[in-house]
């Protein structure tokens, strides 16, 4: 394993002495505390969850392709959309963001040998896996899986309204994955604060690592609130408390406050890591530094701060919240988000853009996120929210956003996959996959915006009174099929490219430390480190003649 030690490493003798001679094969995967292998386990599990959640999405779209379709029963439909949302949010997007790629990349980007608490890291993964199995097992109990939507609003989620073990398994799964997230948050914070290599100051950290640090802080602020809420909900269901039930003097809306106090930061917990991925990819494939690096960091911090004060914009129509406060806080988030968007454009400006599959997905992310971001501004305005709330307009809005995040995630896999496996994916299939996903996403979401404005509420199994909505629904279903094809292409690509195209250490002319080490990196990641004098140590090492220009030297003279 240590055959490729570079000649100029001295300190590796000691390292070699206790080189990793652990178990191999399946046992290695079960017992490992190596962040790269844990990250890979996260990746495989999360992509599997994406496939399962995507399958449920296709079921929903088939059901809605006609006004009174009997493909699913009402009860099955409620279970399917609940599990679609729950899987995508709790089991795919979060773990993909801060479990999979963060685990693999953050320690390497800051020149650390592993996460700060490797065993806790392993525990995080096993909690996530058991949580995922717990949630899915709801389909195998009498009464079926949870069926009250991924938000589990009280009192619909009470024992009287939703009896059955499926709901309890849902609560249990959220507790398990919640603790998994909290532990990961602790781990990433500690790693970033204590294990940075010499020279890696905070303002030399890559944006991806910055975003993961901020994400982790948000996790630590938000997830314990959800955990507390879930315990209250469980007590209401089984131990006779009345926290959310009117009959016992409780307040149902309290659940929404607790849920969204977690739920809105959660939106950014999901989004920031993917923003980070795109912020790594666009500059590398434009052969330029990130445009406005410090502005980017402050934008991220601003988004995080604001995200803690906007939860009630999900509750404008409850009539129980202070509308102007939550409106202005929500509108203001558009400002730092806009800064990010223009910084991405600025990073491409006057660059040399290489349209690799990863870069295409990143550009697709920017465009799709632009649509999702702009439609989000409407929803921050209470009067406009009044008539779009709980309609397909909202569904379309957040699906534009999450489809953008999916593109960001796949960009990340095309970009960093070779680092962790040592092999590239097929670029041609990747580009075909991109066009299916990009076009499919727009064909899927755009009709939903119109349907929402026409008055189609979400979570409808049928729409017998409005047969006129059928055509738009059919178009959306067609879009969903295109997205499904792109997912199949991704799996095909992994199989076709299996150990076929060796990547080399630095296939993309990368900027950051992960491209300095081997692919895959050795146990404890580095044989040697370059001097870290900017946020692009690998670039500086490979291109000493082209450092980033500092403030004030932007004019072409």
């Amino acid at each position: 394993m240590t055959a490729v030690i570079s000649p100029d490493t001295h300190h590796d003798d000691a390292h070699e002495a206790h080189e990793h001679h652990g178990p191999t094969g399946v046992l290695k995967w079960l017992t490992t505390t190596d962040h790269k292998i844990i990250g890979l386990s996260y990746t495989v599990t999360a992509v599997l969850m994406l496939v399962i959640g995507g399958f449920f999405a296709e079921l929903i779209r088939v059901q809605l392709s006609a006004p009174y379709e009997h493909f699913l029963s009402f009860a099955q439909y409620n279970e399917v959309f609940t599990m679609h949302g729950s899987i995508m949010i709790y089991l795919f997007a979060g773990p993909m963001a801060f479990g999979a790629l963060a685990n693999i990349i953050v320690p390497i980007q800051i020149g650390a040998p592993d996460m700060a608490f490797p065993r806790l890291n392993a525990l995080s993964y096993w909690l996530y896996l058991t949580g995922s199995i717990t949630m899915l097992s709801g389909f195998f109990v009498s009464g079926g899986a949870a069926n009250f939507g991924w938000v589990g609003y009280a009192p619909l989620s009470s024992a009287a309204n939703s009896p059955g073990a499926g709901a309890d398994l849902w609560i249990g799964a959220l507790l398990l994955t919640g603790f998994s997230a909290i532990f990961t948050g602790v781990n990433i914070c500690a790693t970033v604060f204590y294990l940075r290599a010499p020279g890696m100051t905070l303002f030399r950290m890559p944006i991806f690592t910055w975003n993961l640090l901020v994400t982790s802080i948000l996790i630590l602020l938000a997830f314990p609130v959800l955990t507390a809420g879930l315990i209250m909900l469980y007590c209401d269901r089984h131990f006779g408390t009345h926290i959310f039930s009117v009959q016992g003097g409780g307040v149902p809306v309290l659940w929404q406050h607790i849920f969204w106090f977690w739920g809105h930061p959660e939106v950014y917990i999901l989004a920031l890591p993917f923003f980070g991925m795109v912020t790594e990819i666009i500059p590398v494939f434009s052969r330029k530094p990130v445009f406005g690096y410090k502005g980017m960091v402050f934008a991220t911090l601003t988004i995080a701060a604001l995200s803690l004060g906007v939860w009630a914009h999900h509750m404008f129509t409850t009539g129980t919240v202070l509308l102007p406060f939550f409106s202005i806080m929500s509108l203001l988030i558009a400002v730092p988000t806009g800064i990010k968007l223009f910084n991405w454009i600025g990073s491409m400006w006057r660059g040399q853009i290489w349209f690799s599959a990863a870069m295409l997905f990143a550009i697709g992310f920017v465009i799709t996120f632009l649509i999702g971001g702009l439609t989000g501004i409407y929803l921050a305005s209470p009067p406009l929210d009044f008539f779009t709330h709980d309609t397909y307009f909202v569904v379309a809005h957040f699906h534009s956003v999450v489809m953008a995040l999916v593109m960001g995630g796949i960009a990340g896999l095309y970009y960093w996959g070779p680092k962790i496996t040592g092999y590239l994916l097929n670029e041609t299939i990747g580009k075909i996959q991109f066009w299916f996903l990009f076009i499919g996403s727009q064909v899927f979401t755009l009709p939903l915006y119109i349907l929402g404005l026409k008055g189609m509420p979400r979570r409808m199994a049928v729409y017998p009174n409005n047969p006129g909505w059928q055509h738009l629904n059919e178009i959306a279903t067609f879009g969903a099929v295109l997205i499904g094809i792109s997912t199949v292409l991704f799996v095909v690509n992994i199989l076709v490219s299996w150990k076929k195209y060796p990547a080399g250490d630095n296939p993309w002319d990368g900027h950051t430390l992960e491209w300095f080490t081997t692919s895959p990196p050795p146990h404890h990641n580095f044989y040697r480190l370059p001097q870290i004098r900017s946020e692009r140590p690998t670039w500086d090492y490979n291109h000493p003649e082209a450092p980033a220009l500092t403030h004030g030297t932007h004019e072409e003279k």
């Binding site: 400002v335 800064i339 979570r459 004030g552």
Partner: protein
Amino acid sequence: MEVQPSAPQGAGPQPTKHRRRWIAALIPLTALALSGCTLPSFGAYKSDTTTGQETYHLWQWFSVGAVIIGTFTFLLIVWAVLRYRRKGDTIPKQSQYHIPLELLYTIIPVIIVGVLFWGTVVVENKVVAMPKTNVKIHVNAFKWGWGFTYPGQNAVVVGNTTQEPTMVMPVGTDVAVTITSTDVMHGFYIPQFNFSRYALPGVTNEVTFHAVKTGTFTGQCSQLCGLYHSLMYFKVKVVTLKQYAAWQHSFDTPAGKLAAQAAANALKIQMSAGLPVVSAVTAGVN
């Protein structure tokens, strides 16, 4: 509300030699923004209540802003992608900061947000205002149907998934609607009024409608409430004041009283325990 059509121009990173093209692209959009009275609907309902129409205009102006900013940013992305595709192996200039530009695309969005917020607050205050009125309707949502009672009057209307109930209200006057639920959360949603409000157990929400024309509109539950959520429809029938008075009087006849009594009983059963849905009992209209 003013959207600033010329503002985003400067936000492009140093567009000097291509500035004219951007201006050319913005002219039709600017013209669109300035021709206020003929703004397109952008897909929303024009609405048949005063507050719904205010909301509709707010929607239009938000959309004008979104279209201008969206088109501008989209063109910037497409331009960057096409213009700066890789042409060789030379390393481009490694510029990283442009403080004036960065400030520009921070400050302009802050101003735009300020304008949007101002418009929001103006319209919102009208939508949530509750002027005094004598016409009152109380909405009771339950799994899975609606009950409409008229405080101080005999009229009671109840319906469920098999028989849609109709809420009758007069045109040209303020109608105070109070909304509550007997079991889980429901959404009292009337698309053509551009309005929805949760029906919450234990809370009574209030809203005032001022319909501007007669007609029948559909409404339905917008908040997931269990198995038959998708079938929880109702109708809103806006009639003249005269017709409204006549309709109210129909409940004062012996037959009308009987029908109202039956409906009231059905609603009572519904409200007492959140029991499974009763068989259809509808009184009143038609």
